[in-house]
C-alpha cells in the first residue's frame, strides 16, 4: 500500500562495514594528527588569540593537550566543519566529552587526538543525518496522519540508525561513550537547526544538553536503551518544534505534487516538441514489432492478429497503470489516454509514414518534404485527428482500460490497412 514510505525509509543510511569505518577513522586520525602539528607551526598568532579567550575553560588539560585542543578548534573554524560553534561551547563540550568517555585522567595524547577526531566526525555525520531525517519526515507526513505511527517511523527507521551510526564513530576509535552524550549531540543539532532558524533563542552547548539529559535519564549503557532514550529525550520534547519547522516544506511539497498533476493534464492541450519518456514503454516495443511485420514483411492484418493486438495492449496498459477502474469522464483528462497519445507520437516519430493516414490532403506535400518538422509543428492537428478516432471507437460511458485498448488496436489496424503508408519509406 504505502510503497513510497517504504522506499523513503530504506534510503536512510547504508550501514558501512566495520572495516570501512576503522579505515575511515584511521585516515581521519592521520589527517588530524598531521594537520594540528601543521597548524601549531603556521598559525601562532591565531592560536594565541584563541588561547586568550579559552584560558580558563581548558585549564584542566596538560599543556600538550591544550595545544592539540586549540589547534583542532582552529581547524574546525578554518575548514568550517561545524558552523556557529563558539569557543566557550567548544571548551565545555571537550570537557564533557572526556567525562562521558571516562578518559578524563588516563588519556594519552594519541588517544586525545583520536577522541577529537571521532567527535568532529560524529558531529559532521549527525548534521547530515538530521537533514535526511527531516526530509524523510516531510515525506512520511504527507502519507501518514497518525501521530503514533509517525513517531514510531521517526524513531525506528530514522533516529535509531543515525544514533547507532554516531555511536559507531566513537567505537571504532575504541572509546566507550555515554549514550546520553550522543543523544545530547542530536538535541544540540535539532535546536541549532529548528529553533534558532525561527526564533532568537540562544544556542546552548552540547554540554548543557548532556547535563539536562543526565539529570532526567539515569542509564547510560546498552543498545536496548535507544528506543526509550530517543523517544523521551528527542522525539517527545522536540516533536512540535520540528513539525512547525517542516510545515512550509510539506506545504510546498504537496503543492508541487498537485501542480505536477495539473501540469500533466494541461500538457494534452499544449504543443510539446518532444515527449519525455525515460524508458521505452513496452507498448512501443510491441507496436513497432507489429508495424515492422506489416511494413517490411508484407504481412496482412487479419482478425486473429487483431485479437492478439487487443489482448496484449490491454494487458500492457493494465500492467503500467495503477488505476483500472472505469473512467466516468468523457474528457481526455484521464492519465491513461494522455499516456496513449504520447505513445502514439513516439510511434509516429519512429515510423513517420503512419501519419499519412491522419494527414489532410492539403498538407501532403509539406509532410513528405520534412516529416519530422511537420510532426512538430502540427502536433495539435494530429492530436485532434487521434481524438476523433478514439471518440469514434469508445462511447462516452464506456471509458475502461479494456475499451481504450480495443480502440487503440482498432486505430492501429485502421492505419495499417491503409495502402498508402507502404508507398513511402523515410528510412531509406
Amino acid at each position: 500500500m504505502n510503497h513510497v514510505i517504504n522506499q523513503i525509509s530504506d534510503i536512510v543510511y547504508s550501514p558501512e562495514g566495520i572495516f570501512d569505518k576503522v579505515n575511515q577513522f584511521k585516515t581521519l586520525f592521520n589527517y588530524f594528527n598531521a594537520n594540528y602539528r601543521d597548524f601549531i607551526m603556521n598559525q601562532p598568532t591565531f592560536l594565541s588569540e584563541i588561547r586568550k579567550k579559552l584560558k580558563m575553560e581548558i585549564g584542566f588539560l596538560s599543556p600538550q593537550k591544550k595545544e592539540i585542543c586549540l589547534a583542532v578548534y582552529g581547524i574546525l573554524l578554518t575548514e568550517d566543519l561545524i558552523d556557529k560553534y563558539s569557543e566557550f561551547h567548544y571548551a565545555e563540550d571537550i570537557s564533557t566529552l572526556l567525562d562521558a568517555t571516562n578518559k578524563k585522567n588516563i588519556c594519552t595524547e594519541d588517544e586525545f587526538v583520536g577522541l577529537l577526531t571521532s567527535f568532529t566526525h560524529c558531529i559532521k555525520m549527525s548534521t547530515k543525518a538530521l537533514d535526511v531525517i527531516l526530509e524523510n519526515l516531510c515525506l512520511i507526513k504527507i502519507k501518514e496522519k497518525d501521530r503514533d505511527l509517525i513517531e514510531m517511523l521517526l524513531i525506528k527507521n530514522n533516529f535509531l540508525p543515525a544514533l547507532s551510526e554516531a555511536c559507531l564513530e566513537f567505537e571504532v576509535g575504541e572509546f566507550q561513550v555515554d549514550l546520553r552524550f550522543i543523544t545530547a549531540i542530536f538535541a544540540y543539532l535539532i535546536e541549532k537547526k529548528v529553533l534558532t532558524d525561527s526564533s532568537d533563542k540562544k544556542l546552548k552547548s552540547i554540554s548543557y544538553h548532556y547535563n539536562v539529559i543526565k539529570s532526567k535519564y539515569p542509564l547510560s549503557e546498552g543498545e536496548d536503551l535507544f528506543y526509550d532514550l530517543i523517544r523521551t529525550q528527542l522525539v517527545v520534547p522536540y516533536y512540535t518544534e520540528i513539525e512547525k519547522f517542516i510545515l512550509p516544506k510539506i506545504e510546498s511539497l504537496s503543492l508541487k505534487q498537485s501542480l505536477s498533476k495539473i501540469d500533466n493534464q494541461e500538457e494534452i492541450g499544449e504543443i510539446t516538441s518532444d515527449v519525455e519518456k525515460s524508458e521505452i514503454h513496452p507498448i512501443i516495443t510491441f507496436v513497432s514489432g507489429i508495424v515492422e511485420e506489416v511494413l517490411y514483411q508484407n504481412q496482412t492484418v487479419n482478425s486473429a492478429k487483431k485479437q492478439h493486438i487487443e489482448r496484449n495492449i490491454a494487458y500492457l496498459l493494465k500492467k503500467g497503470s495503477t488505476e483500472n477502474e472505469t473512467f466516468t469522464s468523457s474528457t481526455l483528462s484521464s492519465g491513461v489516454l494522455i499516456e496513449i497519445i504520447d505513445i502514439w507520437f513516439i510511434i509516429f516519430s519512429i515510423y513517420p509514414q503512419l501519419v499519412l493516414h491522419l494527414v489532410n490532403l492539403h498538407d501532403y506535400a509539406d509532410f513528405t518534404e520534412n516529416p519530422e518538422n511537420y510532426l512538430q509543428t502540427n502536433r495539435r492537428k494530429i492530436m485532434q485527428q487521434l481524438n476523433i478516432k478514439f471518440r469514434k471507437y469508445i462511447s462516452v460511458d464506456e471509458m475502461s482500460i479494456d475499451n481504450i485498448a480495443k480502440a487503440f488496436a482498432k486505430i492501429l489496424i485502421e492505419i495499417l490497412s491503409n495502402p498508402t503508408i507502404k508507398t513511402i519509406d523515410f528510412q531509406k
Binding site: 504505502n2 503514533d148 542509564l219 536496548d224 535507544f226 528506543y227
Partner: protein, 362 residues
C-alpha cells in the same frame, strides 16, 4: 473466512523480575480496525513454558487450517516467540498471507523486546530512586507497549513490508531426517481436538550414525520438538479470552516450525505433511531441515517439495509407509519403523533405538 477474522493479532508480553510485585504481564489485541486493546481483564497469561527448553529454542510456527471435512483453508496462523534478557514475548496472529518472511518479522519482535527491556531498566532505576511510583511504571510500560504494538500491526497488515522472501546468502541447509507419526484424533473435555501420538518411524541417513553427530539428534527430543510445534492448550485459553469462537470449527496444525540453537545460532526447520485415514486416524510426516549437519551424501532442502509430493502421492494411493519410503529419494536411508512412543527414552541415540528394535524383531 471473513476479513475481520483474519486480522486478529495477539501480543503477550511478560517481564520477569526478581522483585515481588512483578512479573508484569500484558496482552494486546491489535485486530479489528487497528485499535490496540488491552486484553488483560484480570486474567494474566504466563508464557514461560515456551522458554524452558535449553536444547532448541522455538522461534516461530506457521499453522495451516483444515475445516471439519479435512479441506485445507486459505487461512494461516502464525506464532512467534522472542526474548531479550528479562522480556518474553509471544505473538499470535491470523492472516491470509502464506508468504510472511519469518526472519523480518522476528527482527521486528526482537526490536519490541529490546525496546521494552531498555525502557523497563530505566523505569526500575527511577522507581528505585523514588522518582516514579509502581503505578506510573506500569502505566508507562503499557503506553509504550501499545505504541510498539500498533507500529508492528501497521507494518504487518498495512505497509506489508514483512512479506516476501528473505534475501539470505547462507547456503541451503540439508534434510537431516524424516519422522512419520501415527496419531489418533481425540476430543478433550473442552471440545478441543487433541492429537495422541501412537507409533513413530524414523528415516535417517547413514551420516547420523557417525560419532560427530551423536549428541545432535536425540529421538526423544525430536518428538518433543514436534509436540512443541503444536498449539498449546495454554494459548487456546488466551485465544478464548479474545472470543475466537471460530477456532473451534478448525483443525489447526503446524505447517512449518522454526527452531534456533541458542549456542550456535543454527536454524532447524520442520516441515509437516498430513494424511488423514478416516475419521480419527492421521499420519504426520515431519521433514527436518538442519543447518548443523552438512555432508555430501545428504539431500539439499531445495529438493524437498518434490520429495514431499512423491511420498504424499504414494501414501494417498497405497497407504503403505514402507512402500512410500522405498520409492522415494530416501530409499538408501536407514529406516526404523513403527516404534511405540512410550519405548523411546530420554537419552537414547538413534543407534540405541535400532538395537532395541532388532531385539524386538527376534
Amino acid at each position: 473466512m471473513t476479513d475481520s477474522k483474519s486480522k486478529y493479532n495477539i501480543i503477550i508480553l511478560n517481564i520477569d523480575s526478581s522483585e515481588e510485585h512483578l512479573p508484569f504481564r500484558s496482552i494486546f489485541n491489535c485486530g479489528e480496525g487497528e485499535e490496540v486493546t488491552d486484553l488483560r481483564d484480570g486474567k494474566e497469561q504466563d508464557i514461560s513454558e515456551y522458554f524452558e527448553d535449553e536444547y532448541l529454542q522455538l522461534e516461530a510456527v506457521k499453522y495451516a487450517n483444515y475445516d471439519k471435512n479435512n479441506e485445507l483453508l486459505k487461512l494461516f496462523f502464525y506464532q512467534f516467540i522472542s526474548n531479550h534478557n528479562s522480556v518474553f514475548l509471544l505473538n499470535f496472529f491470523s492472516s491470509n498471507y502464506s508468504d510472511l518472511c519469518i526472519n523480518k518479522t522476528k527482527e521486528e519482535l526482537d526490536f519490541i523486546c529490546k525496546s521494552v527491556n531498555g525502557l523497563f531498566k530505566r523505569l526500575e532505576d527511577q522507581k528505585y530512586e523514588r522518582i516514579i511510583s509502581k503505578n506510573d511504571q506500569l502505566e508507562i510500560l503499557n503506553e509504550n507497549l501499545s505504541k510498539l504494538c500498533k507500529y508492528y500491526q501497521w507494518q504487518l497488515f498495512e505497509e506489508q513490508n514483512l512479506r516476501g522472501s528473505d534475501e539470505n546468502d547462507a547456503p541451503t541447509p540439508m534434510i537431516s531426517q524424516v519422522i512419520f507419526l501415527n496419531c489418533t484424533l481425540k476430543e478433550d473435555n473442552r471440545n478441543l481436538i487433541q492429537l495422541e501420538f501412537n507409533e513413530v518411524s524414523f528415516v535417517y541417513p547413514e551420516v547420523l550414525n557417525h560419532p560427530t553427530y551423536k549428541g545432535i539428534i536425540i529421538p526423544y527430543k525430536c518428538l518433543k520438538q514436534i509436540q512443541k510445534s503444536f498449539m498449546s492448550s495454554n494459548l487456546f485459553s488466551t485465544v478464548k479470552l479474545a472470543n475466537f469462537s471460530f477456532f473451534e470449527d478448525l483443525i489447526s496444525v503446524p505447517d512449518t516450525a522454526y527452531f534456533k540453537s541458542p549456542e550456535t545460532s543454527d536454524k532447524i526447520k520442520i516441515v509437516f505433511d498430513y494424511h488423514f485415514h478416516g475419521e480419527d486416524s492421521l499420519l504426520i510426516s515431519a521433514y527436518f531441515i538442519d543447518s548443523r549437519i552438512s555432508d555430501s551424501s545428504l539431500l539439499n532442502s531445495r529438493e524437498l517439495p518434490q520429495i514431499r509430493r512423491n511420498i504424499s502421492a504414494y501414501l494417498e494411493t497405497d497407504g503403505d509407509l514402507e512402500n512410500a519410503i522405498v520409492n522415494s529419494a530416501f530409499r538408501n536411508w536407514y529406516k526404523v519403523l513403527r516404534v511405540r512412543t512410550e519405548d523411546i527414552e530420554k537419552d537414547h541415540g538413534l543407534d540405541r533405538i535400532v538395537e532395541d528394535k532388532k531385539v524386538d524383531n527376534l
